[in-house]
Symmetry: C2
Subunit: 405 residues, 2 copies
Amino acid sequence: MRKALIAQGGGPTAVINQSLAGIVIEARKLDVEYIYGARHGVRGIINEDFVDLSRVHIPTLEAVARTPGAALGSTRDKPDLQDCERICRVLQAHDIDYFFYIGGNDSADTLQIVYEEARRSNYDLVCIHVPKTIDNDLVGNDHTPGYGSAARFVVQAYMGLNLDNIALPGVHVAVIMGRNAGFLTAASALARKVPGDGPHLIYLPERRFSITSFLTRVDECMRTHDRCMVAVSEGIQDGSGLPISGVLQKSSERDAHGNLQLSGTVALSDLLCAEIKRQLGIKRVRGDTLGYIQRCFPNCVSDVDSREALRVGVMAVRYAIKHGKSGSVAIKRTKNYHVSYDLQPLEVVAQQTRTMDEEFVAESGNDVTDAFRDYLDPLLGSKLSQIYRLSAPAVRKILTQSSAT
Amino acid sequence: MRKALIAQGGGPTAVINQSLAGIVIEARKLDVEYIYGARHGVRGIINEDFVDLSRVHIPTLEAVARTPGAALGSTRDKPDLQDCERICRVLQAHDIDYFFYIGGNDSADTLQIVYEEARRSNYDLVCIHVPKTIDNDLVGNDHTPGYGSAARFVVQAYMGLNLDNIALPGVHVAVIMGRNAGFLTAASALARKVPGDGPHLIYLPERRFSITSFLTRVDECMRTHDRCMVAVSEGIQDGSGLPISGVLQKSSERDAHGNLQLSGTVALSDLLCAEIKRQLGIKRVRGDTLGYIQRCFPNCVSDVDSREALRVGVMAVRYAIKHGKSGSVAIKRTKNYHVSYDLQPLEVVAQQTRTMDEEFVAESGNDVTDAFRDYLDPLLGSKLSQIYRLSAPAVRKILTQSSAT
């Protein structure tokens, strides 16, 4: 009699439940008798808070797969060594043979510790990390499930923001998720359809951010386009590695003799907008923060992302059950666009952060390259919104002309 | 030879170009020889910045109609009396017979002044206001074009936010557009599918907001659901009519001896979150501001809204050309769900703000009623996302039970 346990960790995504369904459906196909789900990740394991997924109907699983979120519940808890020992003890008490943890590099890290703990106590546990993160920051992967759909949301959001800004021109600054890796912010570039479309400036955490040069670029862009759309990663830092929000907040504090109360609560977009208004004297400056809606928006899911998220779940089960191997499932691109799946050692993924490839960042440091556009395009899925522009001949002026002559 | 002029004013929406296309297509059908579009609303009229829409191909118009934004460009300029006189002079110089202005109550106001100015100078100008606003705050209308699609965006965003918050429980506060009318914030209620779904608290500008009672409700909700999702209109005010963001900012300033620099830039959601953390000591508190993406998101358009936005354009032309009447086109609901169209005097709409009907606001003051849900439901359009929940039996604990006995 074989038993599997599945857990979900970190931020939810639009397709993480596809991976859950993929694991359950494939494990049943391979006759795993018991398939448990841990509620809220490692915390659920520590508390033995399990549900039995063995008898949930397939249509229900498939409907849940199409629903964003993390159906088992997730957690931000980072288990210490003692917690990992406890996790190992709980898994052993329940006779778990296969442990599948769907998550990012933190989850891979936890899994690696649990795996080593199990080996130390001669407990024959197969540990498989199933990749998931909208940040796309797992090493050894061409891309990660969750990224394509979040990128699709950013692209569609920017299509709308660009049309909005064309209608009511001015400066617009949007802050996009991604502390260490700029992949999601970079996606905004794929919203451009015709020359002059925004975003005009893209700032990634992979490049140090200079407020002075930023203001110069905004000023130039306003002169050229009479408007300026800026996409900024939340994680941008200055030359000495300090977060820009901290730098701007600090200078504001100094100016006004300190307001520690609000520190950390002022959004980066608001700080950048205030700086543009103050230094460049531009009137219409608007800021947005694409907050939590970018990772679970239900109506903006990439079909490619969905399929691959399901597939990493299926492959996880095959590696575990057919081959008895532990590791981290990885997506490799074989051509444009085909992928294959691979199993890499847990330590390759754990605690590592992938950032934007050098060839993806433009030389200017405030844009992406065609190579990035080619990379992301197939991941966005099919049926992206079509945007059309009105083009009509100008009418000859009557009053203005006569007053000029 | 007859001439029409079309302009778009105020914030863009997902369907304002449907109204534009509706006017152009119907006016051509009724043999209006020249159809001009003013670039960026009244500013374009003042500058005689017109494009000729008479010969734009119908498929192009239909493609633009499906594109969010404001294809002619919009403006926030509020023309004074002198501007309105200039507008009148420009229209007369171009022999405009029909002036269609697509916009909110500000646009209706401008139109009324222009209309009166034209009458005073015996210029036979027909002025038609075509309703548009995501705020849904035009009097005499059951609802306005633009609202259904923005509401659909809010509903889908809240479906995702709710799933996100179920996965990682805590307090979540989202600020939604609507300074004087709570219709868009109220829409969040339609994201609820099963009992316990968020938003758990909805605060509208139609009710005075008390920070003390708000904190009590959040605390209660955390005790009941172990999480609390709050939807707040940007326009909420305290008992004396002061904006809550100002009230919270002021108290923070007092605490810290003033930081005028940042006043007005700190988002309401951040201020409310800081207050919850400080007063209730809750750890996981997250804020979002559904910014500009809520009004032009291209992938989240209500088909009902699109159809009606086109239709108000068509009806505007019929009132103007077949009946030679000036006024503001209004949508009336005849049954659930059918509408008819009416022409009401400009002064009914101009400068007036419709707010949420009394029967739409729950007695508690922090929710909406079934009457509101019935009102909004048909406007959201077809094929809303389906959300499914995982339900599976709990597994018997082993270690935890034995330690308890």
